[in-house]
Amino acid sequence: MMSSDAVEENEEESSILVWMTGLAFLAAIIAIFIYVPTERTEGVVQRIMYFHIPSAWLSFFAFFVVFICSILFLWKKEREWDIYAHASAEIGVIFCSLVLITGPIWARPIWGAWWVWDARLTSTLILWIIYVAYLMLRAQSEAGSMRARYAAVLGIVGFLDIPLIHFSVLWWRAFHPQPKVISSEGIGKGMEIGMLATLGISLCAFTLLYFLLMGVRVRQEKLKDEIDRLKRETLYSS
């Protein structure tokens, strides 16, 4: 069991993180709804982007973490990495769902259609299905080394598929607005400085939120392990 000192230290750390995340979100909301100028052509709907892009970033980052942790798990065979991969996949799926919901809401007034089979929309949808399947695999098998190994293999296989999916749907068709943040002219040339700052704040807020949620989720899973272990011990001793 964790010693009480370690627990206290952990709690202190996480409460700092909670405050930082809260402040970052407050700043992000102020920036998005009050500070940032309304985009000329797209109007007020463009403000959705300040949630949409950070959510997309967060989910891709989370899936990348799943990939790294899966490799580390197969290499070191430590339960720790399995927990990280699981938590990260769950958070990634949540935010990927948010991307898939906010995307059509933005697209309806701008493109005039809820859904277009554009390259990036399609690949995000496929990505979402892959990681939902990953979570299903975890839910279907019992806890233990088998589940961890299988999930790790799927985490690796799934992430390696992303570039292939990307190119295949890109050559298939492409409608999505060209990325404005990082364009061929250099970083941030396509956007006004105020918009870029707002996006930056929002990105920071979402990244902090990721680490906060990860911390909570990982601690939860470890506690569950500990309880299971204690239960087994009492079962055998009695």
Binding site: I48, Q220, I227
Partner: protein
């Protein structure tokens, strides 16, 4: 070009989603705590 409804809907989904997830985390935590209490009780009764 006034689509406040869309902006509102998108925000509702984002915040709703995040709050819902935090809520499920809370609930799972509560279930675990309950489990832990139960375990402690049985342990103290036996020991």
């Amino acid at each position: 070009m006034d689509y406040l409804g869309f902006l509102f809907a998108a925000n509702a989904f984002v915040w709703g989603g995040i709050i819902y997830y935090v809520f499920t985390l809370k609930q799972r935590n509560r279930a675990l705590e309950k489990d832990l209490e139960l375990l402690k009780e049985t342990l103290s009764r036996e020991g």
